[in-house]
Symmetry: C2
Subunit: 355 residues, 2 copies
């Protein structure tokens, strides 16, 4: 693919905060952005040259979108397969590839894919019935986590199974095809964020150390408290995944670091990631610009980190403290323009650079 000239239009599926930050990065490089979203008045649409509000299964609207843009990318992995097919049928280039999206949106396929590449995962089993669950619990043991295979994020669609009592009736409670995952007694959680260009070049960011609260990322710090071997192993995993998909764009893998330094992959996100928001101020090229560079077939930028980092998510009413946060000279404040503050909703984030 030839590098897209400035002034070209980049299409983004999804109107949330990731789409918003991608749109801003694209604009800074001279691109126009067209957002496709099913949400009127979305955060991303308010910084984009053009928005198409439509259903993700509306073939005509998708064809209109495809005609207007030089390349289509996405801010989320749960893009319906029909959406990607309709876009490709309408002549759109889609990056990352629909196959990466399809695999990442199914936890069972994702873990099977990772294992096939030799990347360690927690023990897991597909669960299509209460009987499946009971068999799997026998093999994997407790504690374990029962998750929906699809459409879970930020801790939703998950049931923790600590004892046999939790297992009884759990499949009915989940109410959808599931996956049972063995519990990992990890020492810390990290993520590797890396980008691959159309030419196969890979650039990676320093490992992010992540803390979650209630299943939602609350805090990311860098440098992660791991040695160089762990960073190297994480990068190796990312490279395997990127090359396996012939991937174009930014990809994230969340990993558990075990007491012996070994890594276990928790999940992958075929997109920019919350744990990479610090790159806006903290790296020479942000993950958002990096993703746009990749999908536009531009050379990737340097991922050099500029400082020690602490990134804090503003969840729900955390964002009500905007004035105090704005007054903190150490906090770089980002708010996503969401109209309603709701519990568990990502409203913004703050990045602190220790220089």
């Amino acid at each position: 693919m030839k590098p897209l000239a400035p002034g070209s239009t980049i299409g983004i599926l999804g109107g949330g905060q990731l789409g918003r930050m991608l749109a801003i990065a694209a604009a800074q490089l001279g691109f126009d952005v067209c957002i496709f979203t099913d949400e009127p008045d979305s955060p991303a649409s308010r910084v984009a040259a053009k928005t198409i509000v439509g259903n993700y299964l509306d073939t005509a609207a998708l064809a209109d979108f495809a005609r207007r843009v030089a390349v289509v990318t996405t801010e989320f992995e749960n893009v319906p397969a029909q959406t990607a097919e309709a876009l490709i049928a309408a002549g759109a280039r889609v990056a990352p590839c629909p196959n990466a999206l399809a695999i990442a949106q199914d936890r069972f396929d994702e873990k099977s894919f990772l294992q096939a590449l030799g990347i360690a995962t927690p023990p897991f089993a597909a669960i299509n019935s209460q009987a499946d669950l009971e068999t799997a619990v026998e093999r994997i043991g407790l504690p374990a986590i029962l998750k929906t295979r699809r459409l879970g994020y930020d801790g939703r669609g998950q049931i923790r199974l600590k004892s046999e009592a939790d297992v009884a009736g759990a499949y009915a409670k989940l109410g959808a095809p599931g996956i049972l995952e063995g519990f990992c007694a990890f020492e810390r959680e990290v993520s590797i964020i890396a980008a691959r260009g159309w030419d196969g070049a890979i650039v990676h960011y320093d490992l992010c150390e992540n803390e979650h609260e209630g299943g939602i990322l609350s805090r990311t710090t860098l440098p992660a408290k791991v040695n160089a071997a762990v960073q190297g192993a994480a990068l190796e995993a990312a490279e395997k995944v990127l090359h396996a998909f012939d991937y174009v764009g930014v990809l994230t893998i969340e990993l558990f670091v075990m007491a012996d330094g070994s890594l276990i992959a928790n999940e992958m996100a075929p997109r920019v990631h919350n744990s990479g928001h610090w790159t806006i101020e903290g790296a020479l090229t942000s993950q958002f610009e990096q993703h746009i560079r990749a999908v536009a077939a531009w050379p990737l930028g340097p991922a050099t980190r500029l400082a020690q980092i602490e990134m804090l998510n503003l969840i729900g009413e955390d964002a009500d403290a905007w004035l105090a946060l704005a007054a903190d000279p150490n906090a770089r404040l980002h708010l996503y323009g969401k109209r309603d503050t709701r519990a568990g909703r990502k409203m913004g984030h703050v990045t602190k650079l220790i220089v």
Copy 2:
């Protein structure tokens, strides 16, 4: 004024690159932006939630704009007095104040104002006829520069007078009320960029050292090669101007540094400034965010510089090198989304951080 809550709409007069970078900064803080411009498909409108395309003298369109926004600011100083009046009549808060805009758009008023504050300027005289010009040349001497009083920028509307031969017929050539300015044999050109909040607090950036080509800024470097006394004197001048206007927002003064270290004010810009583009990556708070913070009555952010800086403007066909610039790991590339490359047109810029 109470700090504007995130989700409020900030109105910006003007749709150029400064409006574009202001709109992006406002979005990052969670504001919506409404652009008012007479240019369809402007660079700023492509990153704004809403755009009103209208004539700057269209009272009804301006009233519509005023109703939609919590505060109005501007990316340019040549806002017609009627525009500001119409906005204020429609109930808009305007920052910076119309008086600062009015004075900055007339070179004679501007220099008179600066002198009244005790800020040195080149010798100057109002020129309303060839006879005025000849009298002024006698007093001020040659070389000198004859400029239009109004609507000149980037070297336009200027005639250099080196000899008596240049003086003959010069007023007719200018074709508008003018100002004669004595030539300053300066050692270097610098600019001071400072912001003042609604509460009177002032934050300033390090002095920028500027090089021009053909009357257009070509290169800004920091630190400027001046001593602390020069930085202090520049800040003192900025503080005088900011307080005199009870100014709210970012203001820039371009200054000549003479061989003896004294400063002579060349002009002031009641807005963010090209010589401050480096602050996007090079300072903890960019000039654009700083301006938005000021007009939204938020606390000002720290202006701390993070590195040695070189900012290069991309003028006209300079921007055709976008691919090579994108491949330079030391260059942070910004393109403004202008549809046509024209000689002398500011198409983008590049910031290099030496860390």
